[in-house]
Symmetry: C2
């Protein structure tokens, strides 16, 4: 399938499904092993790369970088580099990312209610 729009559905599919365009987009933004957890963690505070890595005990550095880059390019999170030695990089929610928080909250609620 040829991808357009960075969210995994081809042109004709999107054309035929204008109605559900939105849900496909959001699914793509959130698709990724750790993205929900990262956003949940950023909800309370901005965090440094190392903090996030430590929080997600089992993620590899490469995978974490990839997920953060995707969230950044989707403009869900911001990335601020402090030109120090050693370097310091802080991640935080963008305005768009904050718009996502009600969804994160409801996912948390649903899981709390129905998860084992």
């Amino acid at each position: 399938m040829v991808k357009i729009c960075n969210y995994g559905f081809d042109e004709s599919f999107v054309e035929e499904h204008r109605d559900m365009h939105g849900i496909a987009y959001t699914q793509n933004v959130l698709s990724g092993r750790y993205k929900n957890l990262i956003l949940w963690y950023l909800k309370e505070n901005d965090r440094r790369f190392g903090e996030i890595k430590k929080f997600l005990t089992s993620v590899s550095q490469g995978s974490l970088t990839k997920q953060l880059r995707e969230l950044e390019s989707d403009e869900i999170i911001t990335r601020t580099v402090y030109p120090e030695v050693p370097p310091k990089v802080v991640y935080g929610l963008s305005k768009k990312g904050k718009d996502l928080m009600p969804i994160i909250d409801m996912m948390e609620e649903f899981g709390k209610k129905h998860g084992r």
Copy 2:
């Protein structure tokens, strides 16, 4: 990583992150290329296998079956077989699945607002 609880995080991780147990569970339930779209489609009406397949123009039969089986085993959807010839199988939202609808709605809304 050893999987427990069918949602991709190992025992020690879950133990250390009781707080966010819920979000990990929900992410797992919704993870899958077409699950959001299927749920969105079932929101209005119960649907037959063939209808869903036709709606998701690009999904293969095997993939669709897999996604439906997962949603069924997570008790998000119900599957009703009518013993006719030719067979008729109808999928619908369970009570738990209906609990998911506010999340689906908000995802749709977010995407409508922010997606290109």
